[in-house]
């Protein structure tokens, strides 16, 4: 060992080398087929020789190491051999037994007439004997392998260079449940589950039109996660759908299994605090977005849909706003806006006032604050950061804990810790009020990711206020406003309803009564501009 390395190890306390040293080899070269590099498969087409097919399939699916892969050999009546391949647990066993194996075993003797016209056999088998809803033929081995990986059953028959894909998918999944993060008293109470087709059907159930397009997409070179792009063909701006399609198809990644990952891969700026794509678990919200001219993406195995594009107002609305009368909805929106303002700015304002601008508060309130801080040893900023970090810890711990313990933890953390901290004179009672109000404001934020944004911003504003008081807060607001104004979501400005020509009848932060929502959002430039007639309540017209 050279002296420099020795010195480095000595200074940085390098761990001693252990005897058992495991290292993952950097590269393995014996992969027969790497989907990442799209190497031409060894057998691009299905062979007439069943032995070749079965040998390749076994290699490709790593049988017998891969023990949930089932390869079932069957002899037909004419002693012709065939085999099925499927994953145990991903198929409906009854359908395989009754609809496929039994049918194949009972398949009548294929006479000479068929032998001479061998190309007719596959379609004959499907049309006459396969008692299953979805069955298709293919010459490509890759198609069968891909479908088998997604829960279908592959069938190879000796002497035929055509294979069968039989859709017998059936796996355990969560049933449709109530929304977890977007609860609403009014309106539908359904949320997406993890099944792709169930989710697309939930949207189709609401929008009963053939113009609703469910365009299939696959994301991830290896994971091949399936999804559907949903849009209303007669409403959506074709440039928008092209852009969404382009971005999704351009994702070059091995594994991408969740909507959240896709959102991170298609958003324009990764390090902005606010998210640029709306994530929802409500089919009604997706349906409403589609009618406005937006595009949605649902991925298999995900209970959330992505909505493109989005703007600041969409993140502020809650799912229930659409089902409330305008005064009620606007009142709740106002409360939420105040709550958001409090969650971001209250601690910073408190610091600014107590540290720099004491003259700005009335004298008797100033006395009260001073008296409450009399025995607290820390400066206000340390006190605030201590309590804020403690609050964030309680919140994080509450999420990790099971539900009953989580709520108990919140009470224990919030009440007992707060009370004890005040009694021990580590923090002042007024600080507990500030932190509690901030926390409430954070919980009242409609969009979960927006509450994350607000939590990060809060720290930013606390730092600015502790250095420069109100002036720092004003600078922070200015920088944040410029950042937001510079942000785009799929071609629309993030602050769109305020800065792009918006007709008065359309919603901004506050929503108009339903009869006044005559136009679709102008910033989306939809094919159809009108949502309803000028007078939608025809009964108001005089009867003839």
């Amino acid at each position: 060992m050279n002296p420099f390395s020795y010195f480095k190890k000595f200074v940085f306390f390098s761990q001693p080398e252990t005897e058992i040293k495991f290292e993952i080899p950097q590269k393995e070269y014996h992969i027969i087929y790497d989907v990442r590099n799209e190497i031409t498969p060894l057998i691009p087409k299905i062979s007439k020789d069943i032995h070749k097919n079965i040998t390749y399939i076994k290699k490709r699916f790593s049988v017998p190491e891969n023990n949930d892969v089932v390869i079932r050999n069957i002899h037909l009546k004419d002693e012709r051999r065939c085999f099925l391949i499927f994953y145990d647990g991903m198929v409906n066993t009854d359908a395989v037994n009754e609809g496929i194996i039994k049918t194949l075993q009972e398949l009548p003797f294929l006479d000479k007439e068929f032998e001479e016209n061998i190309e007719k056999i596959p379609s004959y088998i499907i049309e006459k004997f396969v008692s299953h809803a979805q069955a298709q033929l293919t010459e490509k081995l890759e198609d069968i392998i891909e479908e088998v990986n997604f829960g279908s059953c592959g069938l190879f028959v000796d002497g035929l260079d055509i294979g069968f894909i039989l859709d017998v998918r059936s796996w355990e999944h969560r049933s449709i449940d109530r929304p977890q993060t977007e609860q609403s008293i009014y309106g539908p109470q359904e949320a997406f589950s993890e099944m792709l087709r169930t989710n697309s059907a939930l949207v189709r159930k609401i929008l009963k039109t053939e113009k609703l397009i469910c365009e299939g997409v696959k994301i991830g070179k290896v994971s091949l996660t399936r999804g559907v792009l949903l849009y209303l063909e007669d409403v959506v701006n074709s440039a928008l759908i092209k852009e969404v399609r382009y971005r999704i198809n351009s994702i070059s990644i091995d594994y991408c299994i969740s909507s959240e990952e896709v959102a991170m891969l298609v958003e324009e700026k990764s390090f902005l605090p606010s998210n640029q794509i709306l994530l929802t678990e409500r089919p009604d919200r997706v349906a409403r977005a589609l009618t406005e001219g937006r595009v949605a993406l649902i991925l298999n195995g995900n209970p959330h849909a992505l909505i493109f594009p989005t703007n600041i107002c969409e993140l502020i609305y809650s799912a229930s706003d659409s089902y409330l009368r305008a005064p009620y909805a606007n009142f709740t929106i106002l409360i939420r806006l105040i709550a958001m303002g409090i969650s971001v700015l209250l601690p910073a304002f408190y610091l600014a006032v107590t540290l720099f601008h004491q003259e700005m508060i009335p004298t008797f309130l100033l006395y009260a604050i001073s008296a409450s801080r009399e025995n607290v040893p820390f400066p206000s900023v340390i006190e605030l950061l201590l309590m804020d970090i403690a609050f964030e810890m309680i919140r994080e711990a509450g999420i990790r804990m099971p539900n009953p313990i989580g709520s108990t933890l919140g009470i224990v953390g919030g009440l007992i810790l707060g009370q004890a901290a005040v009694t021990a004179k580590i923090v002042s009672p007024i600080m507990i009020i500030v932190i509690a109000l901030t926390g409430l404001g954070s919980f009242a934020t409609a969009d979960y990711s927006l509450s994350w944004t607000n939590r990060i911003l809060r720290i930013f504003f606390i730092i600015l206020a502790s250095i420069l008081g109100f002036y720092g807060v004003a600078i922070g607001i200015f920088i944040y406003a410029v950042t937001l104004a510079n942000q785009n979501s799929f071609g629309i400005p993030f602050l769109s309803p305020f800065i792009k020509g918006q007709k008065m009848s359309k919603k901004t932060f506050f929503i108009p009564p339903i009869w006044k929502k005559e136009h679709k959002p102008e910033y989306l430039s939809p094919k159809k501009d009108k949502d309803q007639e000028k007078i939608s309540m025809k009964w108001r017209k005089k009867k003839k």
Binding site: Y471, G472, A474, I479
Partner: protein
């Protein structure tokens, strides 16, 4: 990998952002009105006494007439700014010369504000904080905003202006009980001569109209520029008249000459019951946002002018050097605002470059164009 199809942007293209009529209207109104938040009303009072508001009204009328003539000329030149027109007339040499005049005008104008603002913040909000820290924060915010470009700044103007207008309306309403009509007399203040003759030197309140000229190529139609300019002059004139009138009504004449920042002083008068005793805090807040927006916009415009004058591909690398130069000038030439008011030549230079130079160059361009057409017809 998917092939990139022809993508038609449905929203804004940040690089080639075109300003709408509303954007220009808001930007210009804001740029002109910002100066009224500083010492400007005091200088008007010093000049015209209680007749300051008449002087502002008169100045606005004169500027409206000049602007009307300028727009008449520019309707024939098309969507070209003063730099492009000067290049057409006299080639690169004239373009660079005009650019230098424009840059001097912009830098003199903005450095006065940049100098005043941190000092006001130190005096009013942060008396114990070193001015270097205040200025550093200011510089970071301004350079960052200018770095983001014209598009976000224009968008923020669309949100900010109605907000600021709302707050000033409240300001006006709350101030009503503190106004005394006796303070308005004598109505003509220091005399007709002071108001209408000496008052002409105060036209430099409208020097920001030069920004409108620079922005012309970024607008959609000449009519947009024309309408937006008229609106901005009208609204800012109204605002200026109102501020001067309020200031005159709120404080007796001799006293009103002594306050350094009249609007701030008026904000201190507002008291709502027992609790809201210091409403100027809200005012400070809007003030800060306004100045930051103003400075960032000017910084960006100056960099754009330099890039255009010297055919530079990018203007962003200029931001920090230009901001440093403005800072240096504002801190080393004494109080820029005082310099502007006390040195009549600087004021005249600003008025000439901003109000008359575009008119002269536009006129020459039209004459040359007509001669060119005549020459083509003759040959």
């Amino acid at each position: 990998m998917a092939k990139k199809e022809e993508i038609i942007k449905i929203g804004d293209d940040m690089e080639n952002f075109q300003l709408s009529k509303k954007h220009i209207r808001d930007i210009m109104t804001h740029l002109i009105c910002v100066k009224l938040l500083f010492m400007y009303p005091r200088h008007l009072i010093e000049n015209s006494g209680t007749g300051a508001w008449i002087q502002v009204f008169f100045m606005s009328l004169i500027v409206l007439i000049i602007y009307h003539i300028t727009t008449f000329v520019y309707q024939k030149t098309g969507l070209y700014n003063i730099l492009e027109i000067s290049e057409k007339i006299g080639g690169k040499v004239l373009k660079i010369s005009v650019s230098i005049l424009v840059l001097i005008s912009f830098i003199l104008n903005v450095s006065a504000t940049i100098r005043s603002y941190p000092e006001v913040v130190k005096m009013v909000l942060l008396p114990t904080t070193p001015i270097e820290i205040i200025f550093l924060a200011f510089g970071i915010a301004v350079v960052y905003a200018a770095f983001c470009g014209i598009a976000p700044l224009a968008k923020i103007h669309r949100i900010f202006l109605p907000l600021a207008a709302g707050i000033f309306l409240l300001f006006f309403i709350f101030l009503l009980p503190k106004l005394h009509t006796n303070n308005l007399f004598p109505l003509l203040g220091n005399g007709v001569n002071k108001i209408f003759i000496n008052g002409l030197s105060s036209l430099d309140i409208y020097v920001d109209l030069l920004v409108l000229n620079i922005l012309i190529p970024r607008c959609k139609k000449v009519s947009d520029v024309k309408n937006a300019g008229f609106f901005a002059i009208f609204i800012s004139g109204l605002f200026a008249t109102l501020i001067c009138l309020l200031y005159t009504l709120a404080f007796p004449y001799p006293m009103s000459q002594n306050f350094l920042y009249p609007v701030y002083q008026m904000a201190r008068l507002i008291k709502l019951g027992e609790f809201f005793q210091r409403m100027e805090a809200f005012f400070e807040f809007i003030w800060s946002l306004s100045i930051l927006l103003y400075s960032a916009f000017y910084l960006k415009i100056i960099c754009l002018v330099i890039a255009e004058a010297f055919d530079l591909k990018y203007d962003k690398p200029l931001l920090i050097p230009v901001f440093s130069i403005i800072t240096y000038i504002s801190f080393h030439l004494g109080d820029m605002r005082e310099l502007l008011y006390n040195n009549g030549w600087i004021g005249l230079f600003l008025i000439f470059v901003s109000l008359f130079l575009p008119l002269i160059l536009g006129g020459i361009n039209i004459i040359l164009k007509k001669r060119g057409n005549q020459f083509e017809i003759n040959h």
